[in-house]
Symmetry: C2
Amino acid sequence: MSKQEGITVKKEQDFSEWYQQLILKSELADYTQVSGCIVFRPRSYQVWEKVQKVIDLEFKKIGIQNSYFPLFIPESLLSREQEHVKGFTPEVAWVTQSGEEKLNERLAVRPTSEAIMYDSYSKWIRSYRDLPLKLNQWNNVVRWEFKNPVPFLRTREFLWNEGHNVYSNEKDLDKDRDIILKIYSDFLKDYMALPGLIGRKTDREKFAGAKATYSIEIIIPNGKAIQGPDFHDDGNNFAKAYNIKYLDEKEKEQYVLQATYAITTRMLGVMFAIHSDNKGLVLPPKLAENKLVIVPIIFEDSKAKVFKEAEKIKKELGIYNPILDDREGYSPGWKFSEWELKGIPLRLEIGPKDLKAKQVVLVTRLGKKLNIKISELSKKIPKILEEMHEELYKNAEKLMKNSIVETNNLNELIKVIENKKIALTQLCKSEECEEWIKSKTNGAKTLNIPFKQKTNLGKCVYCGKKADYSVYIGKSY
Amino acid sequence: MSKQEGITVKKEQDFSEWYQQLILKSELADYTQVSGCIVFRPRSYQVWEKVQKVIDLEFKKIGIQNSYFPLFIPESLLSREQEHVKGFTPEVAWVTQSGEEKLNERLAVRPTSEAIMYDSYSKWIRSYRDLPLKLNQWNNVVRWEFKNPVPFLRTREFLWNEGHNVYSNEKDLDKDRDIILKIYSDFLKDYMALPGLIGRKTDREKFAGAKATYSIEIIIPNGKAIQGPDFHDDGNNFAKAYNIKYLDEKEKEQYVLQATYAITTRMLGVMFAIHSDNKGLVLPPKLAENKLVIVPIIFEDSKAKVFKEAEKIKKELGIYNPILDDREGYSPGWKFSEWELKGIPLRLEIGPKDLKAKQVVLVTRLGKKLNIKISELSKKIPKILEEMHEELYKNAEKLMKNSIVETNNLNELIKVIENKKIALTQLCKSEECEEWIKSKTNGAKTLNIPFKQKTNLGKCVYCGKKADYSVYIGKSY
């Protein structure tokens, strides 16, 4: 690979330009003629397929079923729940024509599917016997944001799961909330090698129409926080707006309780941004489609033998879906750079000298170089991949911990935000205090209220009255 | 289940009403407030997930990769290939507003993705080394048809795979064409228990923008044919419109060759329509999520013992994902009807008498009743399911064969169509003859030209000149 084909700026110097080059040059995504909409190329879509597969399996264990609802939502239906519609209409893409005819009513391209799903729910749910109902969709949604679009992190169309559960009682809802948040955070940890801050959103920052929102916030290398997977406890807000009632065991009519939850393709961008480096993409091994590239070191007189051994190794290590880069006319160094850019976790080099010694050189994407006997590859690779995952997680955890500063002093808090860090501070539940802090910090918001709270809370960092919780505050992506 | 909850008309008397009731009452789909758009409820979406899983695995074996392109296509981009745009614009849903702002250019909600994908292809493809390129999407598309919508069979939004392959030579394209058509027809046969008519479309009926279209046509019980999976050889039509060129091995610039292929959720409707009966849904066992329902025959004094044995059987037959219907307060007959309506392939009845004899009654959805020793269930069930599949396929094949009448006489042909059958006749390649036949038969169209042709063709059934091929003609859904 030539220098220009690689990333030409440093992550630590110009994160934004580095990220854009990473996404394009690693062939994860590409821009299109539709502003704010990207192509998910196979290298990133493969990762999304793994997200779907792993999480879907966990969902099914608690009785969540997949379904598919229409892409379009009539305006009148979208408008039923007032908070909800206020939250979304500024960003809705509207279909107003079919062929050359004007439609009688505008159709929203779904920004989320509460409205269209709950209209069906109100028909389907009659009795306590119909509950719980747990339906999920893996689909595309559109939110026509006007902020500067960034591949994966902020796109006008994105992919996600949207789960919409209905319960007759809070106990069942809360139980599933804990399980679903754990499914998401386990996936982040065990597959994406990412830690996150788990907690409840303040009322000011909760989802439009929800009673409470729970989120996993992740800190990216530019010091901003980004909202990852989330879970919304809607109480009976939507049940009232969409008239979803059931007869309980005593034949009494009740409104249902509802909850929704999502993970989006945003998380791919978060993961690419956190782990990757100036050489290109770094992928946690479990999410890499090809975990290994074999690069034979080619000399004319030993070529045949080396290729033969490389083929043999490729077969033996088939479970890692290895790429054998047997292209001639490219130097090994050129190939190394290309596969580093594209984020293949392991590189196996084999030349005539190695052949004689019955060994290979194995280089991890994190820079570790090992001489390994060919006969021991199968045994050693699983451990090496596991260690890579651990190392990635630890680095990400360090990044997170280094970004958080605990303070209960307003001036210090302002400085923390100025220094592109995240503050852990104490607040009362007045939305005014949040509003003031936002204005004083040029836009920092509360991220979430961690589940684990101190037993002895002090004073609100802004108004000085008794604090209701400690909470993370930072600039949000 | 009460009588009204079942299907109240006969398939053979009022196919259209029967089909609608089937879809709604078996909980396969439901109507929504968006005309022509349905909810794919879990019972049908599960089937679609199986379609995706099986076919995707086969696609990957020939190097087809998944990706995701934007839902929206700017009008200017859609208009580049003239035949293509003419074929689709009357049915396009247009986004013209975002929030309350008018967009500068209308965005088509994709009716198919050639335009948006090939714009990217023209950027990505530079050299013969970049070919073949084989990308697929599993996504949603919208075609705002004005014909009467029918769940699955004709919906304004549907789900499909759209594969878009690029080649440097015809040989590779033709090879993949044969493989891909086989993947589709094998799936129809081995999973959906459906036979089809495979062949090439006439020029008049080929895809808008294609050089040649190959299709699998399926005949449904109302005597109409419906186009199933298809494959389009686009030659270099799109390459010229979207400027997709590469340098060949001699550094000479060449247009690429392209092909596309699809299977849609229409096929679910076709399958439901063909196999199901007046009791409700009949599903080929391989596509049933729950292959078995266990209905304990409950008497107060033996209940505990029977439940215990039923639980044990449920566990042993876990690979069939059995439902244990232990609801009390419903008669066995009521339960039998419900599970027949919902298409569970096998029903296992167990009561106190069976328990004593260490056997159960096993009833297939096709009406076969067997007494089987409990100890022999695991061994016997696979064969029973296989036989069900065979029987379904044979019945569908009989329906197909009985629908086809071979004739080379114009009056006879007209009668065949009047009698709601499909004709196999001989035609010259003049589009006029096709047009005339269509007008004389009140709308019958050529379906496709079977691959296996007679060696001695006669005269064109319409103009009497030398025939170019024998071809299926019928009313098309």
